[in-house]
């Protein structure tokens, strides 16, 4: 199976329930700054990072909805979600703030094999 990139970062948490998502994104941006080829998989509640029309202004948390669209500026362009995660949460690909590749379970499993290293947040 051919290798897609050196690093796969897996974001499994929603944006505002804790620091996991924020710190995972920070790791992604740092890797990109070091010019390490990487991909991002938004898994489980991680797909809430991609929800459009977020209004976190009332929360004591930093607005992460601006960070995801900025990933392209860091040349982070390989973004993946699982169709199952979208369906379970009533989300559609066209509602997301950026364009992502939607994978079925088998493709998502393969994604882990197609990267040399995995960091999970």
């Amino acid at each position: 199976m051919s290798q897609i990139a050196d690093l796969l970062l897996v974001l499994r948490h929603g944006p505002y329930g804790g620091l996991n998502a924020r710190e995972g994104l920070d790791a992604a941006l740092t890797a990109a700054a070091f010019e390490v080829p990487l991909s991002l998989l938004f898994l489980n509640d991680g797909i809430y990072l991609l929800q459009s029309d977020q209004q976190p202004g009332q929360l004591p948390a930093k607005d992460l909805s601006k960070t995801v669209p900025a990933l392209a500026m860091y040349d982070i362009e390989r973004l993946y979600v699982r169709s199952r995660d979208l369906e379970q949460r009533g989300m559609k690909p066209e509602q997301l703030v950026v364009e992502v590749e939607v994978l079925d379970d088998e493709q998502a499993a393969n994604l882990f094999h197609q990267h040399r290293h995995i960091l999970s947040f």
């Binding site: 050196d6 690093l7 620091l19 996991n20 920070d26 740092t30 390490v36």
Partner: protein
């Protein structure tokens, strides 16, 4: 075989922190080269030297310190994650105008670049507490 160890789990509310320590000890005893241990997320609290569990409980901070001095392993703590959670070395404490610092000996604050560098340089990256 070179390993990089990434610890994310909280020392007080996850199994991951203790498992990471035991795994790293086992790997070193088997002669594996551990490039670096990187503490990120809640695990940075492991580097707080003011942690003081009762005597009959494991002191993870001391165990990591012992491991680092026995095997000359780098224990790097993410500076942003640490400062956010109140773990500071002398320099950061001064920078933020605190009267005391609390980073345990043997641990070092550094940037996320050390995580990326270890990940790329290792044959295997093993993460503990990805789900916290």
């Amino acid at each position: 075989m070179k390993f990089a160890i990434v610890v994310n789990g909280s020392p007080s509310s996850s199994q991951a922190a203790a498992t990471a320590l035991r795994f790293t000890e086992a790997a070193l005893h088997q002669g594996v080269d551990v490039l670096r241990v990187f503490f990120y997320g809640e695990s940075v609290l492991t580097a707080n030297r003011l942690t003081h569990p009762p005597q009959d409980e494991t002191n993870l901070t001391q165990r990591w310190q012992q491991l680092a001095s026995d095997h000359d392993v780098e224990l790097i703590v993410c500076i942003a994650a640490a400062v956010r959670r109140g773990v500071m070395d002398e320099r950061e404490a001064k920078r933020y105008e605190h009267t005391a610092d609390n980073l345990a000996d043997g641990f070092e604050l550094s940037g996320l670049g050390q995580l990326v560098d270890a990940s790329i340089g290792a044959d295997r990256v093993i993460t503990f507490g990805g789900r916290a």
